[in-house]
Symmetry: C2
Subunit: 345 residues, 2 copies
DNA sequence: CTGAAAGCGCTTACAG
DNA sequence: CTGAAAGCGCTTACAG
């Protein structure tokens, strides 16, 4: 009887406290008249480590006070934060934002939350972020960027759990999610060849990542296999410019070189948009006079770029595989590459 | 002399320890042969609170051991995390990802890192994330979503620092960054009117947010002012469909209603892309037979949608203003709305 | 079944 | 100028 009264008066007290700041384990302990340890056990579902009556009392207090465990305290004690960092080369690129979006969803499903860091493809920013993320005690890193930098080298060296997407770890073999870019390039070659193109070209940005290079390389190699003329390969750069501008510029440069291809591989959709604008400005019909093919396969293409054939890369599915890789890493399994199938455009 | 030797031997020890796990304040203290308090002060730049010699010794140890302060410990102690949460209604939407991107950059400049949470416009997810973010002790919330939910109501009630972007706080007046959507709609009306359109329509998704509604309302109101026929206003929904599909569907529905406008306001660029496809499928020339105008002004338009007039919303600049608002909030200044200028298409 | 105590990494009065 | 100590919120042996 006594304990009963006690509980009631506690409940009254607690309701008053409702207005205050964040509620801690200690507040619940006091309200439920048990030790902090007991509350912690109940909170963590170790319900068999407490009597049914006690557990119930604790749960009621938690409910009434609106207690939510503070992750910071938990992280500090356990050394695990349930937080993952994603570093991306540039969120303005729709490919990157699609990957970020799908990764975020997959992480949430796995019970994690995600820091988003845009490195703008700059080494110092990449390092700054890597260090900042380490300071936040994140449990893993997802990199959609692979600039070489002292910080990245150090992280790789230390064996931090990292999964690379699109671009590979620049220092060593490791977890990776992407497609076989060379085969995608080859598929593009097949398609242009089948469509009757005999004077081809390929465009990509100056100093672009391995990804785009491999697409072009696969394209070139396949054309050689079928005995076609080698494609004109043009790299273009526009200081501070977007892929759109680079695509435009590359098409312009082709003209300058007096090359007039009937089929062009654009290493990404954005490049294709730029190249298309140049073509139409010059009065070329696409695909009548010139076929454009690219690799990415944005949803948008079907809607506003019907003139474009694009090999579809399943970026939307990267997230699931990235998170799977991360879980594998944590479980100590040996890292591997996951090459997803692409869809011929 | 003695202390000199001591330092040297310490340095040797520390180099060995280099291989170990994370380095803590205590490790540095031991290496530099000072107290933890002293190290902490040096780390935090309270350099006048230590002798030049001591400070130097500490700095050397920090350098050699590669010490980085653990934010988790700091956060737990100080109650400030230097972390902000962004909740977005859906990252697949380019508008949202542009805002996320610009916000991330502005936060970094201010010394903060950002959690990214995609609520998929679902109340339960929104609440789940709000609670998860609170548990992470984030210092503020940026919402590009405004679904009503118990959790959001509670956060507003508690006065958590929140800045809304695009969409307003659904419960009360508060910090907001956006444009004057009604005026943007009016500007669209002016433009179509000036271009000679006399049979207009406006399309938007069923159950869409206040943002798009206001654009259409501003459009309607302005047309009334200039004495034009009232526009046909069509709301369309496609279960699980994108804005692209909705735009297409809305255009189709107009035909069904036997309405054939010579000018359509599409409440967002994506809707316009969809509406355009339908128009071209029906053999209409855009803008010859039908003008399309929208509000967003994606960079892409100039490249692959030259047929579209779009009022430009400076999403790229939202980040700076959002972060400014957040800083204001923290400094206790009274919240206000920031309406950025848009550019007539 | 339950609680007291130590400790995760840090900051910050307080004392010397 | 410097250090010992308390404490942020939590978990987890350990003891009873």
């Amino acid at each position: 009887m006594k304990s009963m009264e006690k509980r009631e008066s506690d409940a009254t007290m607690t309701t008053k406290r409702d207005a205050g700041g964040p509620v801690s384990l200690a507040d619940i302990a006091k309200a439920a008249d048990v030790s902090i340890s007991t509350v912690s056990r109940v909170v963590n579902g170790q319900t068999h480590r407490a009597s049914a009556e006690t557990a119930e009392r604790v749960r009621r207090a938690i409910e009434e006070l609106g207690y939510r465990p503070n992750q910071i305290g938990r992280t500090l004690k356990k050394g695990k934060s349930r937080v993952v960092a994603m570093l991306t080369a540039g969120m303005h690129n729709p490919v990157m934002s699609t990957i970020a979006s799908s990764t975020e969803a997959a992480l949430r499903d796995a019970g994690y939350v995600m820091f988003l860091c845009d490195t703008h493809d700059r080494a110092e920013l990449q390092d700054e972020y890597l260090n900042a993320m380490r300071a936040q005690a994140v449990e893993g890193y997802i990199l959609v960027t692979n600039i070489k930098s002292p910080g990245l080298a150090e992280f790789v060296e230390r064996g931090e759990p990292m999964v690379f997407a699109c671009r590979r770890n620049p220092y060593r073999f490791g977890p990776f999610v992407g497609i076989d870019d060379k085969r995608a390039g080859a598929a593009a070659a097949d398609r242009l060849w089948a469509d009757g193109c005999r004077r081809t070209a390929a465009i990509l940005p100056t100093g672009s990542s391995q990804v785009l290079r491999e697409r072009v390389e696969g394209f070139r190699a396949r054309l050689a296999e079928v005995g076609a003329e080698p494609p004109a390969i043009v790299e273009a750069g526009v200081p501070g410019g977007s892929l759109l501008e680079i695509g435009y510029e590359a098409a312009r440069r082709l003209e300058e070189m007096n090359i007039h291809p009937d089929g062009i591989l654009c290493a990404s959709d954005q490049l294709a948009y730029g190249a298309h604008r140049r073509a139409t400005e010059r009065g070329l019909r696409v695909p009548g006079d010139r076929r454009l093919i690219s690799i990415d396969g944005s949803e948008l293409n079907g809607w506003i770029a019907p003139w474009l054939v694009s090999i579809h890369v399943p970026y939307r599915e990267y997230g699931t595989h990235i998170v799977e890789q991360l879980l594998s890493l944590w479980h100590g399994r040996t890292p591997r590459e996951i090459l997803l199938p692409f869809l011929r455009g």
